[in-house]
């Protein structure tokens, strides 16, 4: 039975919200990102409802995030040096979460998207390349750059051999 748009949103919103937050690192921006992606999906719902609608939404989210970042990057600059590290009195989980949130801010949207797709959604490099509309080589380069940067700004997040692709 064909899923309605409302059902689709109800079922997929939690996962989409989580991905959006990881991509943006900001709840308001993440909410805007999901809203924009769903609005665009709704416009083409008749065409995509019988296919992989979620993949479509996610693709829109990744591209929209890159597009927004391009518009904002004149006002925003990546931080060159590590920002404040998590305090020693936080629990491990909270500390790791804060460290990750701070570290992700040092990545470009494409690097961030690659990290999210590869290590949160566990997608292969080929799937990431298809989703981002680029070559596998580009995905590898973004992943390599991202890991290297994370190792610099938050070494506790990345093991030494992490940048080598396992898939």
């Amino acid at each position: 039975m064909t899923e309605t748009f409302h059902e689709f949103v109800v079922h997929r919103s939690p996962a989409l919200s989580r991905t959006a937050y990881l991509l943006t690192g900001d709840h308001q921006l993440a909410e805007d990102l999901v809203q924009t992606a769903l609005a665009r999906t709704y416009r083409h719902w008749r065409r995509i409802r019988d296919g992989d609608a979620e993949a479509y939404v996610r693709r829109v989210m990744y591209h929209q995030q890159v597009s927004w970042w391009r518009r904002r990057r004149l006002a925003e600059r990546l931080e060159a040096e590590p920002t404040e590290q998590a305090g020693a009195d936080h629990s491990d989980t909270t500390a790791l979460r804060l460290t990750l949130t701070a570290a992700l801010r040092h990545l470009t949207p494409r690097q961030r998207a690659v990290i999210v797709l590869r290590y949160y959604e566990d997608r292969t490099e080929a799937q990431v390349a298809e989703m981002l509309g680029c070559s596998i080589g580009t995905v590898k380069r973004h992943a390599h750059d991202a890991i290297r940067r994370l190792r610099t700004v938050a070494p506790e997040l990345v093991d030494t051999a992490a940048e080598r692709s396992t898939r």
């Binding site: 937050y21 709840h27 809203q35 709704y42 904002r72 990750l100 990290i115 992490a162």
Partner: protein, 463 residues
């Protein structure tokens, strides 16, 4: 490996709430769709406007096909309400016929007179307003090629003659050089269409009770005014003007004079009783004789006679049928088959008798006429043949020489309904009303949208 990174990503994601974006996503999608539709409609409107306006802004060239296809319609009708003017776009091009009269649609606001104009090769109609009563063929004249229309501008303080170019829509004003003129009226064209014959009325006494009429020929190239004659207004100098290449014949009082275009009088002669210079087509095609319109005494029967232009001597009858039962006839020209085309003024049975003192005036349109029709008087025929009819209360016509000499007629299908100006104004008013209504209804929505956009901009970092 990346175990810590994966773990951190998962832990971070676990704390993210589900954003309630369903309603707002739908609203955004609908708003975007409205914007796109509005933009598309706007683009289409602009394209349509550009498609209409750009061709209209071009100055059209003279269409040779229109001149070649010029033909006389077999009937004319009153111009529809809202008919385009002669200066409106798209331009009319050369005309075949102009007409005037007392019908309601031939009068505008403030009692302005309306001249109907028909294209040379089709049933496209235009109108032209004149400041005062200006019968076609008497005060409003089509040039021989049908391209120009001469009319009085009706301004007593600054008397001008307007020459309207029906191809370009431009109007040229010929300012009278006659001292003291209080009114200029075109009375005819030269045969080549390069000069216009104009009559000026000049008050003789200070009180303006009596006038002198001055007849001039105006060369349109360089606007040179050459005086032809002058006489008391009652003599109606130039009441009828007939043009032959290099010559003009005109009537004043009971006399016909022949001059060249430099104002030199070549001859003159007195008219016999009950005869008049026949009309603008009075010169025979060979230019050897002049044609007079003769009315049999105390009847309504009219015939055409030819006379020697030098002496006025009758040189023999024309084998043309007589016209009966009409108030007057006016000879418009000669068709290739030798037929004389005359405007025949049909009597109004309800009209009062003409005063005795006016009965010697040249035939003209007046209150005794109900309508006009154009007849062909073919040599050897027993009766006139009607070639053009007009509705009642169309009282005067003028036909371009080129159309008469071409000898072509066509079945006419005059336009009905309403004209282009009606649709223009209706469309404009509709657009304004719709735009006003939409703005009025959606002003609150627009205010909310602007406010929302302002809020979003301030909320986005770096925005």
């Amino acid at each position: 490996m990346t175990a810590r990174l994966r773990e951190a990503l998962r832990w971070t994601a676990e704390d993210v709430p589900t954003y309630p974006v369903y309603d707002r996503a739908l609203a955004t999608a609908r708003r975007d769709r409205r914007r796109r539709l509005t933009a598309a409609a706007g683009a289409l409107t602009l394209l349509a406007l550009a498609g209409v306006v750009v061709p209209l802004t071009r100055t059209p060239a003279l269409d040779p096909a229109a001149a070649a296809d010029a033909a006389l319609p077999d009937h004319i009708a009153l111009p529809p309400i809202g008919t385009l003017h002669v200066t409106d776009r798209p331009r009319l091009g050369p005309a075949s016929i102009v007409f005037s009269g007392s019908a309601p649609r031939l009068h505008g606001l403030n009692d302005t007179n309306v001249i109907g104009v028909v294209a040379a090769n089709s049933d496209r109609y235009r109108i032209m307003r004149t400041g005062r009563e200006a019968p076609a063929g008497e005060s409003v004249h089509l040039s021989p090629d049908g391209r120009y229309l001469a009319r009085p501008d009706g301004d007593q303080d600054d008397p001008d003659v307007d020459v309207v170019d029906l191809v370009t829509g431009r109007t040229r004003q010929l300012t009278s050089t006659v001292d003291g003129s209080v009114g200029s009226t075109p009375v005819g064209w030269s045969a080549d269409g390069r000069s216009l014959v104009v009559r000026d009325d000049v008050p003789v006494a200070f009180d303006g009770a009596t006038y002198t009429s001055v007849l001039s020929v105006v060369a349109l190239d360089g606007e040179r005014w050459t005086r032809l004659a002058a006489g008391a207004q009652e003599a109606r100098v130039g009441s009828t003007v007939a043009a032959d290449p290099g010559r003009l014949a005109y009537q004043y009082g009971r006399t016909v004079a022949v001059t060249d275009l430099d104002g030199r009088e070549l001859s003159s002669f007195a008219l016999p009783d009950d005869t008049w210079l026949a009309g603008k087509g009075a010169w025979r095609p060979d230019g050897v004789t002049l044609t007079l319109a003769a009315r049999r005494s105390h009847t309504t029967e009219w015939t055409l006679r030819q006379v020697d232009p030098a002496s006025g001597r009758d040189v023999g009858p024309l084998r043309l049928p007589a016209v009966s039962g009409v108030v007057a006839i006016r000879l418009l020209g000669w068709a290739p088959d030798g037929s004389a085309l005359v405007a025949a003024y049909q009597p109004d049975p309800l009209a009062p008798d003409r005063p005795l003192e006016e009965q010697t005036d040249p035939p003209t349109t007046d209150r005794r006429v109900r309508s006009v029709r154009v007849l062909a008087l073919t040599p050897g025929a027993t009766a006139p043949r009607t070639v053009l009819t007009a509705p009642d209360q169309v009282l005067a016509v003028d036909i371009a020489d080129q159309v008469i000499q071409g000898g072509r007629t066509r079945d006419a299908q005059p336009p009905g309904g309403v004209g282009g100006r009606f649709w223009l104004w209706t469309g404009l008013i509709t657009v304004l009303v719709v735009a006003g209504t939409v703005l009025s209804v959606s002003r609150q929505r627009i205010a909310l949208w602007l406010d929302d956009r302002r809020f979003r901009r301030t909320r986005r970092p770096g925005g």
